[in-house]
Each structure stands twice: as structure tokens, then as C-alpha cells.
């Protein structure tokens, strides 16, 4: 296995969706054992980048190495072996709705191991305890709030003791308390379990409190990288616009369109 400090190495990545380039020449190194945040305006392909890192999509050019595995040439069987070492928290939790909370967390264990029921029970209850939801074990996913759903999904993501834990927009639609809980869990799980955490988010204030390193994406490239403090004073208009939440700037307020007045004055035609 690659013993360098980077667990994910992306070089000159190119990826296009129906001939629209999402990434062109993206480089990124994600360090082992740290919390790395990937930020950027909506539509810059943050989630797409996660799909490429996890092998749910394949890059057009360049290279992506995850724990020493080349994600562009990996075989399906090897990909599944690699994924057992990855945990992923989806935006909406993605719990299996026909299984209880307990069974959702037990799902990866039941699928991949022959552990006796007693051990499975212990493992599941420990992970649920870690996210503070041991008491919710018998509930069904439909009975949980948004924050609880995400914490159960987090327990499920760590039940196989992964090396890498990936969070896709973990704060969307959460109240401040749930958000604080998730933030603390990201840091605590990362340090206690010796994980590498990758967090995709656009919540500037929240993420800068937990991240060790921040990558800011825009226009298919990394426009800034550094610690959260470094980013606050980064000498770039895009970064200033994003961090300061300014409505207009290098990322335009208006979607590309023809000239405003000529369109208003044009004789009516159906769109």
C-alpha cells in the first residue's frame, strides 16, 4: 500500500457531462488522518468529485489514486474490496426504508461477515451509542428527524471501521443543534477512529470550525487550498466572494442570457 501521507491523489483530472466540462486539469491531495473540506459554489461539481473518488463515475482523463488504487482502471471486484474501507454519508442519509435503525446499521456486517448475532448486536449498539442514538435502535427510518437520520447513516458508515469517511453535504436542512452535533461527530470520529474524513459542503462558517484543510473549487479547478484561517485572507476574488457570501463577483449572479433589453423588446415568441 502507498505509505505516503496522501490517501487520495488526483492529477490533471478531466471529466465532462454531455460535452460540458465539469473538471479540467484538477489537482488535489487529501492527507491521511485529517479532515479535508471540499467547498465551492453550487454546480461546481463537488458531488461529482465524490462520485469520481468513490468510483461511482469514471474520469475521462488524468488520474485518481485512492489508497494506492487507480480508480480509472480498477475492476469491479477490486472496487468493492476498496469500498469496504470507505464509508459514505449521503445528503439525505439514504437509509434502507424497509429496515429498522438497528438493521440499517447491521446491514454491512450481515452482508460482508459471518459474525454471530451476539457480536453484531454489540458492534451495532456501540456505533449507535457513539452517535447518541442507541435508544432509537428499534425505530424505523420514517420515524426519525433529518438530523437523526444522518446520525444513523453515520453509524452505518463507520460500522465496518473504514479508513476513509466521506460526507456529502452533511449540514443541508439541519437545525443549528443537529448541525452542531454532526460537526462534533465529524471531528470526534476522525480523531478517535483514526479516519481520513472528506467533507463536501458550502457552509463556510460551520466547516471552517472542523476542517484541517480546505479546497475551494470553482470553474472545474482548485482555486484555493489551505487552512480555514489562510482562506479568510486569501488574495483572490473568487475566494473573497465565496467566503464573504457576496451575491455578485467572479461567480455571476445572472445565468448566461442574451441582452436584457433586446429580449424584452423582441416580438413575443414561445419559449
Amino acid at each position: 500500500m502507498n505509505q505516503t501521507t496522501s490517501i487520495v491523489e488526483i492529477r490533471n483530472l478531466g471529466y465532462a457531462v454531455s460535452s460540458r466540462a465539469v473538471f479540467a486539469g484538477l489537482d488535489m491531495d487529501i492527507s491521511r488522518g485529517r479532515v479535508t473540506a471540499i467547498m465551492g459554489p453550487s454546480g461546481t461539481g463537488k458531488t461529482t468529485l465524490l462520485r469520481l473518488i468513490t468510483g461511482q463515475a469514471v474520469a475521462d482523463s488524468g488520474s485518481i489514486q485512492v489508497a494506492g488504487t487507480d480508480m480509472r482502471t480498477v475492476r469491479r471486484a477490486d472496487l468493492y474490496v476498496l469500498r469496504r474501507r470507505m464509508g459514505m454519508l449521503f445528503q439525505n442519509g439514504a437509509l434502507l426504508t424497509d429496515l429498522s435503525v438497528f438493521e440499517n446499521v447491521a446491514f454491512p456486517l450481515r452482508e460482508h461477515t459471518d459474525l454471530p448475532e451476539r457480536i453484531i448486536r454489540q458492534l451495532v449498539l456501540t456505533k449507535l451509542q457513539a452517535v447518541g442514538l442507541r435508544g432509537a435502535a428499534p425505530l424505523m427510518p420514517g420515524e426519525l428527524s433529518g438530523g437523526m437520520t444522518r446520525r444513523v447513516a453515520l453509524a452505518r458508515a463507520i460500522v465496518m471501521d473504514p479508513d476513509i469517511l466521506i460526507y456529502d453535504e452533511p449540514f443541508v436542512g439541519l437545525d443549528p443543534i443537529s448541525m452542531g452535533v454532526i460537526l462534533r461527530l465529524i471531528r470526534r470520529l476522525n480523531d478517535a477512529l483514526g479516519l481520513t474524513s472528506i467533507v463536501v459542503s458550502h457552509n463556510v462558517q460551520e466547516i471552517t470550525t472542523v476542517a484541517d484543510t480546505v479546497f475551494l473549487l470553482s470553474g472545474g479547478k482548485v482555486v484555493a487550498r489551505g487552512t480555514p484561517q489562510e482562506l479568510q485572507s486569501y488574495p483572490s476574488d473568487v475566494v473573497r466572494q465565496f467566503v464573504g457570501g457576496l451575491p455578485d463577483g467572479p461567480v455571476p449572479f445572472h445565468y448566461p442570457a442574451q441582452d436584457y433589453f433586446s429580449e424584452l423588446l423582441a416580438p413575443g415568441e414561445d419559449h
Partner: protein, 255 residues
């Protein structure tokens, strides 16, 4: 000219769809041996598709049988051969109405449930989550549902025919006064193994067709509310047309 081009385009489109669903079927068959190792998952799906459809199948079977009893009695009375009611109703039910009506009801009850369940699983990232947990969703989710449907359909069709015959007997013998002895004995003398086989083969093939269409439409549904709705509708419509078309082919083959 435009019409021809449109027709050609839709012909190509349907051929492409046929190719895609065939490939999907081969993929399902390839995963079947491994899926059979987890038989508990298949049993669960036989329960979902089969046991939960029982009430609608039994009720429909009863009414179809009763209508057959009435209509058959009216018709046979004209020729003075009411005793043949048992034969007529049984042949009609076992060879045609049992498999066909069951398949149509199955598509409406279990097929739509399968399609919308799979479509929603995709829309809510449950399919992606499984892939991220290194669990093959085809093997874990799709194949058990497919096999469950295939097992459930012939059983449901058999129950439908059985209840139907009871319904025909109820109307013919109990109400219209056909002689009970000749109703049953003529049936036993004239309905052969060949007739029953035809019904079994038909319902098995309809089971494959309906389950395949449902899981295919659901698994590849566009992951939006509209997409899942459309997949559900298409499941019923396609299943109905395919079942009636296959029914004609199979009936011709069994002649």
C-alpha cells in the same frame, strides 16, 4: 414522409428497449445462483408479491367464476347440456382466465409496488448507498424481487382458478340447479393434464414477463417523483399488452 420517419424512429426506439431489457434479464440470470444462496430474501419477496396479493386474487377469482357460471349456464342451456358447465368453466379458468387475469392483477398490485419501490430506492440514494457499502444492488435487491414474483405468479394463478371453479359451482349447482354429480364427474372426465399444464406454463411465463418488466422499469426509473410515477404506469401498461400478446402466442403453440 414525416410519418414514416416517426414510425422508423419509434421502431428503433422499441428495438433498443427490447435489447436493453434482454441484457437486464441476462444480468439477472447471471446473479441468480448467488441470490439463491440467500433464500430467506426470496421467501420475503414471495410474501410481498404473493401473499399480499391473495385477497384481490381470491375475490376476483370468485367473481370471475360466478360470472362464468351464469353465462355458461345461459349458453349451455340453449343446447340442453347444462351438465357440461363444470367442464366449460374449468377449461376457461385453468387455460385462459386463471393465468391471464392473475397476471393482469399481479401487474396492477405487485408489479406497481415493485416498480415504485425500486424507483424510490434509486431516487432516495438507497441503491447508491448499497453500492458504496460494496453490496451489489442487483443481487441483493433486484434478483430476490424478480424470483419472488416468478414463484408467486403460478401459485396465485392456481388459487385464482380453484376459487373460480368454486364460484362457478356456487352459481351453477347451488343457484341454477345443475346436477352436482354431473358437474364434477364431467369435469374430471374431460379436463386433462394437458389443459392444466397449459395453464401452469402460461402463468410461469407471465410471471417472468411481469416481474421482469416491473423490476426493469423500477430500477431504471428517472429518480424524480415524475419519473417514478411514469415507471409505475409503464409497468402496468407494458405488462398488460405483453401478457395478452404472449397469451395468444402460447395458446397457438399449445393447439
Amino acid at each position: 414522409m414525416n410519418l414514416i420517419r416517426e414510425l422508423w424512429k419509434s421502431l428503433l426506439e422499441s428495438l433498443r428497449g427490447l435489447g436493453a431489457i434482454t441484457r437486464f434479464l441476462l444480468n439477472l440470470i447471471a446473479h441468480t445462483p448467488q441470490a439463491l444462496m440467500r433464500f430467506d430474501l426470496i421467501v420475503q419477496q414471495v410474501f410481498n408479491s404473493g401473499a399480499l396479493s391473495l385477497v384481490i386474487i381470491m375475490l376476483s377469482g370468485l367473481f370471475v367464476g360466478m360470472v362464468l357460471g351464469l353465462q355458461g349456464f345461459q349458453l349451455l342451456q340453449r343446447f340442453g347440456s347444462e351438465e357440461a358447465l363444470g367442464v366449460a368453466a374449468t377449461i376457461g379458468l385453468v387455460k385462459e382466465l386463471g393465468p391471464v387475469v392473475t397476471a393482469l392483477l399481479f401487474a396492477g398490485r405487485a408489479g406497481t409496488a415493485l416498480a415504485s419501490e425500486l424507483g424510490l430506492m434509486r431516487a432516495t440514494d438507497q441503491i447508491s448507498a448499497m453500492e458504496m457499502m460494496a453490496v451489489d444492488p442487483i443481487q441483493r435487491v433486484v434478483v430476490p424481487r424478480f424470483l419472488g414474483g416468478i414463484i408467486a405468479m403460478p401459485l396465485l394463478a392456481a388459487i385464482f382458478s380453484l376459487i373460480g371453479i368454486y364460484g362457478a359451482q356456487l352459481v351453477g349447482v347451488q343457484i341454477m340447479g345443475v346436477d352436482s354429480g354431473s358437474f364434477w364427474s364431467q369435469m374430471r372426465a374431460s379436463v386433462g393434464l394437458r389443459d392444466v399444464n397449459e395453464g401452469i406454463v402460461k402463468s410461469c411465463i407471465f410471471g417472468v414477463a411481469c416481474s421482469l418488466i416491473a423490476v426493469y422499469e423500477g430500477y431504471y426509473a428517472v429518480p424524480t417523483a415524475e419519473g417514478v410515477g411514469r415507471a409505475t404506469t409503464r409497468t402496468v401498461v407494458t405488462s398488460a399488452v405483453v401478457v395478452l400478446f404472449l397469451d395468444y402466442l402460447l395458446t397457438a403453440a399449445f393447439l
